[in-house]
């Protein structure tokens, strides 16, 4: 049985620690705020210039001057702060916001992400997505496993224009969790494999390996940690 959107959000929330600074994208990622583990309080960043974003206001208390990056009316929690857009993206680009959780149109096995445009079809713009994936140390993607027409969204190579190259660290779909192991050589002295590896680490209950293989275009390794069900 596939995970619900709430369950996907709860899986994303599992890795968050008390005091983390987190940016949540539009859609399923916004549900992460409501699914935090007991005792964990994170500080939500909204890239239009707000840290310490709170829940939606009570009816009648909405304020046109207090919105999130999705242009929704929000509130600011005690301890929150307001800043201009250059400062906001300075903290993003500078890696001070620890985790970005966002949606995807396509993710490739090498960590490439496409989530901003469909040529000839959608002219909206990338907003802050390119900055977020380039600057945030950890990028988690929440997405349906396949597109509405059934085509795989986890692909060998993105065919849609990229938002970022090799930026994704984890993919949480309604069927499975994949982690991207990035062996960037660095000081490990192995001098070898610089290609990130896509690793299946978790299956939704009742989902078979066969189904995952069928619905995933990218090749992947398997290292199941939880809820693993043999095919």
């Amino acid at each position: 049985m596939a995970w619900t959107r709430e369950q996907m959000a709860a899986i994303a929330a599992e890795e968050l620690n008390d005091g983390d600074y987190v940016n949540l994208g539009i859609g399923i990622p916004t549900l992460v705020a409501n699914n935090l583990p007991e005792g964990v309080r994170v500080v939500l960043q909204s890239e239009n210039g707000l840290l310490g974003m709170g829940p939606f206001p009570f009816e009648g208390e909405e304020d046109a001057d207090l919105i999130n990056a999705g242009k929704q009316t929000v509130t600011v929690l005690p301890g929150g702060s307001i800043f201009d857009s250059a400062t906001s993206f300075g903290m993003i680009r500078g890696g001070h916001v620890k985790v970005a959780i966002l949606g995807a149109m396509q993710v490739a096995g090498n960590g490439d992400l496409a989530n901003w445009t469909i040529p000839g079809k959608m002219v909206k713009g990338m907003g802050g997505a390119m900055d977020l994936v380039a600057g945030t140390p950890r990028v988690v993607v929440l997405t349906e496993h396949v597109a509405k027409d059934g085509t795989p969204k986890i692909v060998t190579e993105c065919t849609l224009p990229l938002t970022g190259q090799g930026v994704v660290d984890r993919i949480i779909s309604d069927l499975a969790v994949f982690d991207l192991y990035k062996d960037d050589g660095g000081n490990q002295g192995d001098g070898g494999d610089h290609h990130p590896r896509l690793v299946l680490t978790r299956l939704a209950p009742g989902v078979t390996m066969e189904e995952i293989r069928e619905k995933t275009q990218a090749s992947f390794d398997i290292r199941l940690e939880k809820e693993g069900v043999a095919a």
Partner: protein
């Protein structure tokens, strides 16, 4: 200091010309200089290049300049709420330079700070970096982006003193402080205008040095694009 003007139209007098570049503050419809935008529309100036994070919605904000056919080119990060924009863009009447939001903010900041170009990781490997110079620093590849200086910057502030010192309210701040630095001439509309000395110098966000002209904003109802609320808990429990 004669920064204060009587009307938005008089604040824009003698500085608008066809083909000029405007930088405009705001995020969505929040913190937009709506009165100054309306005055630009009324002036009839054409072939504008508009640098702004968004382009308003149909009939609101910068949408009114699109509607009036006054815009030739847009530098923006997200225009998804504007159908007329999509129409004019797809038909080739409107040129668009999509710029990642953080890169746009930094381009304005850099332009205002006398920095002609800078390097960023944002957009490397994506279409926005195509044709731009790249350089490797500490083993990572960066793309060079240019600073932006506009002919005129339009800003919405909450409180201004007559010397042009500005403060903002909540997320209506957004791009306004960086836009204010990036104009050869910066024009500000403010909801509240006070005498020098009323604004606490500790709370001034934009110092008056950046502001050339100032006008009282009209008392319009501010638009909300996505009105999201939560229900009040039951006041009385039995």
């Amino acid at each position: 200091m004669a920064k204060l003007r009587a009307t938005p139209a008089s604040a824009l007098q003698d500085i608008l010309h066809d083909g000029m570049t405007l930088a405009v503050g705001g995020f969505g419809l929040s913190g937009i200089p709506a009165d100054l935008i309306d005055a630009v529309r009324d002036s009839g100036v054409r072939d504008l290049t508009v640098v702004s994070n968004n382009m308003g919605v149909d009939g609101k904000g910068l949408g009114v300049l699109i509607e009036a056919g006054q815009v030739r080119k847009v530098v923006a990060s997200y225009v998804g709420e504007n159908r007329l924009f999509a129409e004019q863009y797809l038909s080739g009447r409107l040129e668009v330079e999509f710029t990642p939001q953080g890169t746009l903010a930094e381009r304005l900041r850099a332009g205002g700070a006398g920095i002609p170009a800078f390097y960023t990781r944002t957009g490397v490997g994506a279409v926005v970096a195509e044709g731009k110079p790249h350089e490797e620093f500490d083993g990572k590849l960066y793309v060079r982006e240019r600073g932006i200086v506009a002919d005129v910057a339009l800003v919405h502030a909450h409180t201004a003193d007559t010397d042009g010192n500005l403060s903002y309210r909540y997320t209506a701040r957004n791009f306004n402080p960086v836009v204010a630095t990036a104009g050869a001439v910066t024009i500000v509309e403010a909801e509240v205008i006070v005498e020098p000395g009323v604004l606490d110098p500790n709370h001034v966000v934009t110092p008056g040095v950046y502001v050339q002209r100032l006008v009282q904003a009209s008392n319009r109802v501010k638009d909300i694009e996505q009105r999201t609320v939560r229900p009040r808990r039951e006041a009385v429990s039995a």
